[in-house]
Amino acid sequence: MIKFDNVCFAYDKNNILNNISLSVKKGEFVAIVGRNGAGKTTLMKLLNGLLKPTSGVVTIANLNTSVTRTSELARHVGFLFQNPDRQICRNTVKAEIEFGLKCILTDNADIEKRCRNTIEKFGLLPDKDPFSMSRGERQKVALASVLALSPEILVLDEPTTGLDYKECMHIMETINELNDNGTTVIMVCHDMELVADFAGRIIVVGEGRILDDDVCRSVMSRPEVLKEASLAPPQIVELAIKLGKGFEDVFTLDEMTGIISQRAKREGCIM
């Protein structure tokens, strides 16, 4: 579905990404993590053709992004930016969702139907002015207008920044549901708890190259990699690392309580 083949990218002769090679299969949920300025957003923008590689090839749904226009790639790749205000440009929620659909579809009945379904799914008020909504609600409207296009790939650039826990969970659960239905999700995120909860695979980016690319559990258990990328594992993983032997595979709260219960039973303690 997504393939980077020896991709390099430079801004004004400054190398941002060097020889990046990776592939993402359909239906995967990949988190891209790394310190600020590591090249995560550049990597994201290469995905939908907003940036073209200096060398190498980026292939999305069998389309070479170097020769395909971004507006054409938008049929396959939905991109949710960190700041919803850059995306919202209409005075009502309905008009906002329709705006994106009209760029890609021509059948008015289909546009109307998709718009209605999206509004219902997200529980939005169609006539409400998006600019009078809270930050979380505006992010929801932006996500709704991206998802109305039913993209095969969903790219999220720090989608939960500035959201409270409830808003964050609502957005992430919606994305997770889509992923369960086969949408490939690529997410840039600094919140490792969120990454651990939702992503299946982590790509750690640093100094313009891939430092690690593995399933979530393996990457989280490599503190040296996380340290190099200025990241901290979720608290439960950190505790498991400190507890040492016997806790190596602990990744969730349930696993931690399970092991402690087993040990307590074995040693005759009452839990």
Binding site: Y11, D12, K45, N48, L50, R69, T70, S71, A74, R75, V77, G78, F79, F81, N83, D85, R86, Q87, I88, C89, R90, N91, F99, G100, C103, I104, F131, S145, V146, L149
Partner: protein, 254 residues
């Protein structure tokens, strides 16, 4: 990539000039572009501007500015050249359109003046810290800080809005809006709805800026609040004299 008017750090001769003399030089070069009616003389002013950018170490940015200005100039040229009907006809075109020698000269001069007058201001503002410009306007020109702040803020917001607009265009292109089309008319039509997010973000930024200025004691600032002094050195006098000579040459050639 750095945007228009974004400060370029350096220790070059141009950077070292007094902010006030930099502004005087820019103003004199602007004036020189309008004070002559000779194509070669105006081209000469553009060359001086490029030389100044070279000395300031921003020649790449000056060339990209030159290209942008010439692109705008082409539109202006086309708008002018077909509507000036006086003079001898040089070229007859369909739909009763024709180009005259007067129209051609006027249109070329218009484009060159646009380039010659815009470049010095942009180059000078690129190598001058806004804080230095503010201080020197308050200290030397005795302009009240309130007005200086308004002027500097307007300049400071240009690169910010430029970045914001780029971000908005990227966000819209990513959702399928055809900003990557090669048709300029279509592109222009698509730009109109983007005024809404740009306006919203501008108002938010200005509001934030006003609140932070109030919190940092905006109203307490006086002429002597700045700790930095801005003395004129020999280099300032030489540069200003050179600019005055350019202006006088332009007036004589006129």
């Amino acid at each position: 990539m750095k945007g228009i008017l974004e400060y370029s750090q350096g220790e070059t001769v141009i950077h070292r000039l007094n902010p006030l003399s930099k502004m005087v030089i820019a103003f004199l070069l602007c004036l020189s572009s309008f004070a002559n009616n000779n194509i070669y003389c105006t081209i000469g002013i553009i060359v001086v501007n490029l030389l100044m950018a070279y000395l300031a170490g921003i020649i790449d940015r000056a060339f990209s500015l030159l290209i942008t200005l010439f692109k705008i100039g082409i539109v202006l040229f086309l708008l002018q050249v077909f509507f000036i009907r006086t003079g001898n006809t040089l070229l007859n075109l369909p739909f009763n359109l024709y180009i005259t020698d007067t129209g051609l000269k006027f249109s070329i001069m218009l484009v060159l003046r646009l380039v010659g007058a815009t470049m010095p201001l942009v180059i000078i503002l690129t190598v001058t810290r806004m804080s230095d410009l503010t201080n020197v306007m308050v200290q030397k020109l005795h302009i009240p800080y309130k007005y200086t702040f308004a002027f500097i803020t307007a300049l400071r917001f240009i690169p910010i809005f430029e970045n914001e607009m780029t971000g908005i265009i990227e966000a819209q292109t990513a959702r399928g809006v055809e900003f990557d089309t090669k048709n300029p008319v279509k592109k222009l039509k698509l730009l109109l709805p983007l005024c809404v997010p740009l306006l919203i973000s501008s108002v938010k930024r200005i509001e934030g800026s006003a609140i932070s200025a109030e919190l940092r004691g905006f109203n307490l600032r006086r002429k002597d609040s700045g700790y930095k002094t801005y003395r004129f050195i020999g280099l300032d006098y030489i540069a200003m004299l050179f600019s005055i000579m350019i202006l006088l040459t332009c007036i004589i050639i006129l």
